[in-house]
C-alpha cells in the first residue's frame, strides 16, 4: 500500500512506543533485583547480587521451585503424549464431531482460567481426592495439551501424507514408519510444544490456586509474598529468576520451530 512518508513515520514511532511500553516494566523489575536497598527506588546506588543468594538459600523458595519443576515436567509429559495423539487424530481422520473436538481443546484457555480451576476443585471435592502434586499436574496438563496440539498440527498441515503412504508401500511396519519417517518430520514441533507447555505450567497461578491446597508452587509463593508485602527484595530476585527460566525454553522453542505455534492461543 502506498503510504505517505508522514504516515510511515507515525506508524514507526507508534511501534517504538508500544515496544517501550511492553518492555519498560520488565526492565524496572530486573534493575530492582540488583539493588542493595530494602526500599525499591531509583536511582540504584549499590549494585549487588546479594538478594539472589538470599532467595537461592531460602528453603521455602527452594521447595516451591522444586514442586514447580516436578509438576511442570509431569504435566508436560502428559500434554506431550495426549496433544500429539489428538493432533494426529484430527489431522488424519475425518469423523463426526471433528470440529467439536478442536473446540473442546481450546475450551480450557478460551474460558476464564478461574472456571477451570474451580471446576477441578469442585470435582476433587466431590470425589474426595485430596490435594497433592497430582491434582496440580492434572490441572496443568489439561491446559497444556492445547499448546502441544497447536504446534504439532501446524507442522502436520505443512507436511505431506504421501511420505507416510510411500513408507508403508515400501514395506515398512507402522512402527518403522513412525520411527523413521513421521518422528523426524515432527520432532522439532513436538519439542517446541513441550518447551512451551513447560513454560506455561511453570508460570501458572490461577488454576493452581484452586488445585494446590496448602502447597506452594513458585508462582504461589511469589503471590503470597507480594500480598503480605514481606521479603520484597527477595521477591525481586525470584521473579527475575522465573523470567529467565521461562524465557530460555521459549527462545529455544522459537529457534527450533521457526516461530510456529508461539501465538496467543497457546499462551493463556
Amino acid at each position: 500500500m502506498r503510504l505517505s512518508l508522514l504516515t510511515r513515520a507515525a506508524l514507526a514511532a507508534l511501534a517504538l512506543c508500544v515496544v517501550v511500553f511492553l518492555f519498560a516494566p520488565l526492565a524496572v523489575i530486573i534493575l530492582f533485583a540488583f539493588g542493595k536497598s530494602n526500599v525499591q527506588t531509583f536511582p540504584i546506588h549499590h549494585w549487588t547480587t546479594y538478594w539472589f543468594g538470599v532467595a537461592w538459600h531460602d528453603p521455602a523458595v527452594r521447595s516451591a521451585l522444586w514442586l514447580s519443576i516436578k509438576a511442570g515436567v509431569a504435566a508436560t509429559a502428559i500434554a506431550l503424549v495426549l496433544g500429539t495423539l489428538v493432533a494426529f487424530g484430527i489431522h488424519r481422520f475425518k469423523f463426526f464431531g471433528r470440529d467439536s473436538v478442536s473446540l473442546l481443546l481450546v475450551l480450557p484457555i478460551a474460558l476464564p482460567g478461574i472456571v477451570t480451576g474451580l471446576a477441578l476443585q469442585s470435582a476433587f471435592n466431590l470425589s474426595g481426592v485430596p490435594f497433592s502434586i497430582y491434582t496440580i499436574i492434572i490441572g496443568h496438563a489439561t491446559f497444556c495439551i492445547v499448546v502441544v496440539f497447536n504446534n504439532v498440527i501446524a507442522r502436520l498441515r505443512r507436511t505431506s501424507l504421501s511420505l507416510i503412504e510411500a513408507s508403508a508401500d515400501l514395506g515398512a511396519t507402522p512402527l518403522q514408519t513412525f520411527r523413521l519417517v513421521t518422528m523426524p518430520m515432527l520432532s522439532t514441533a513436538i519439542v517446541a510444544g513441550a518447551l512451551l507447555a513447560f513454560a506455561l505450567s511453570f508460570d501458572e497461578v490461577i488454576v493452581t490456586t484452586f488445585t494446590a491446597g496448602a502447597q506452594n508452587t513458585l508462582p504461589l509463593w511469589i503471590f503470597g509474598a507480594i500480598r503480605l508485602g514481606q521479603q520484597l527484595p527477595e521477591v525481586n530476585a525470584v521473579v527475575v529468576g522465573v523470567i529467565l527460566l521461562t524465557l530460555i525454553p521459549i527462545v529455544v522453542a522459537a529457534r527450533i520451530s521457526s516461530g510456529e505455534g508461539l501465538g496467543g492461543a497457546g499462551r493463556l
Binding site: L14, L22, V28, I29, L85, G89, P112, I114, V239
Partner: protein, 296 residues
C-alpha cells in the same frame, strides 16, 4: 522372513485397512482425558452451583436450590461487581484493539523484513514473561513511592495518584493482555495479500478507504480472536485486582476466589463461575451475530 516380522507387518496391514480402528486408538486417550477430567469437572461445578452450604458446619448440602442465583441477582453488590467486570473487560478490549491494530499493521505491511523479525522476536518476551513478574513490576511503578511518582517529582510534573484505583486496573490489564491481541491481529494482517492492497489503490482508493473497506473486514476475525482472550482473561483474573486494585476493585474473579478459597462456600463460587461462563457465551454469540466468525 522371521515370524515376528510377519506378525508386525500383518498387524500394520490390518490397521491400515481399518482407518476407524487407527482413529479410535489415536483419539481415545486424549478424548477420555477431556471427558473424564475436564468436562465432567465442569458438569460437577455447574451442578454444585445449585447446592448450598450449611452455615453452621460449612458442609455442602446436596439439595437442589436456586438460592445462590437469587442472591447474585437480587443483592445489588453482585450486580455492581458483574457490571464493573464487564465494563472493564470491554474497556480493556477496546484499548488493546486500538493499540494493536496500527502496531500489527506496521509490523505486517510496513516494516522491512529484518525490522519485522526483530520486533516479532522482541514481542516474545513480554508475551511469555511471567505474569506475576509483570503485575509486580506495575506495583513498583504505580505505588505512591513508586517509579512513576518518583519520575514525576523529578521532572516537576503534577503527581498522579492512581495507585489502587480502577484506572490503575485499566492500565495494568491493558498492558497484560496487549500481546494476546497483537499476535492474532498480526496473523490476520499477514494473510491479507499485498496484491489486494495494490489493486485497491490502483482502483483509486485512498489509504483510509483501503483500510476501511479492504483491510478491516479481512482482519476482523483476528480482532475477534484477540478479544476473546482479553475478555476471558479479564473475567477470570483475581490476582491483578487483589494486588493492583483498591477497595472498589472487586471483580467476578475476586468474588469467586473469596467464596471458594476464603469463605469455603464452593456452591456460591460455582454459581458466580456460571455467571462468567454465561457472559463469555453471550459475548461469543454477539460476535457471531455481528458476523465476526464468518471469515474465521
Amino acid at each position: 522372513m522371521p515370524v515376528k516380522e510377519g506378525i508386525r507387518q500383518r498387524t500394520g496391514a490390518a490397521l491400515w485397512r481399518r482407518p476407524w480402528l487407527r482413529g479410535a486408538l489415536t483419539l481415545s486417550p486424549p478424548l477420555l482425558w477431556f471427558l473424564v477430567i475436564y468436562l465432567s469437572s465442569l458438569v460437577v461445578m455447574l451442578i454444585t452451583a445449585f447446592f448450598s452450604v450449611d452455615s453452621l458446619t460449612g458442609n455442602v448440602i446436596y439439595q437442589w436450590t436456586w438460592s445462590n442465583f437469587s442472591q447474585i441477582f437480587t443483592q445489588s453488590v453482585y450486580g455492581s461487581i458483574i457490571l464493573r467486570t464487564v465494563l472493564m473487560a470491554v474497556l480493556v478490549t477496546i484499548t488493546d484493539a486500538l493499540i494493536a491494530l496500527p502496531f500489527a499493521f506496521y509490523l505486517a505491511k510496513v516494516a522491512g523484513r529484518r525490522w519485522r523479525h526483530l520486533l516479532l522476536s522482541l514481542l516474545l518476551m513480554p508475551l511469555w514473561a511471567s505474569y506475576l513478574a509483570k503485575v509486580y513490576a506495575w506495583i513498583n511503578i504505580l505505588s505512591n513511592k513508586g517509579v512513576l511518582p518518583d519520575l514525576e517529582s523529578h521532572l516537576h510534573l503534577p503527581i498522579t495518584h492512581i495507585a489502587f484505583t480502577n484506572i490503575a486496573m485499566w492500565i495494568v490489564f491493558s498492558y497484560l493482555w496487549l500481546p494476546f491481541m497483537i499476535v492474532p491481529i498480526y496473523g490476520a494482517f499477514e494473510r491479507v495479500p499485498n496484491s489486494l492492497l495494490e489493486a485497491s489503490s490502483d482502483l483509486g482508493a485512498g489509504s483510509w478507504q483501503t483500510f476501511r473497506w479492504v483491510i478491516l473486514p479481512m482482519v476482523l476475525p483476528g480482532i475477534v480472536a484477540g478479544s476473546i482472550f482479553t475478555f476471558s482473561l479479564t473475567l477470570g483474573d483475581f490476582i491483578t485486582p487483589l494486588l493492583i486494585g483498591g477497595s472498589s476493585s472487586t471483580f467476578i474473579g475476586n468474588a469467586i476466589y473469596d467464596s471458594a478459597i476464603n469463605g469455603g462456600n464452593l456452591p456460591f463460587a460455582a454459581a458466580l463461575a456460571f455467571v462468567s461462563i454465561a457472559i463469555m457465551a453471550i459475548y461469543l454469540l454477539l460476535a457471531k451475530l455481528a458476523g465476526a466468525f464468518e471469515a474465521l
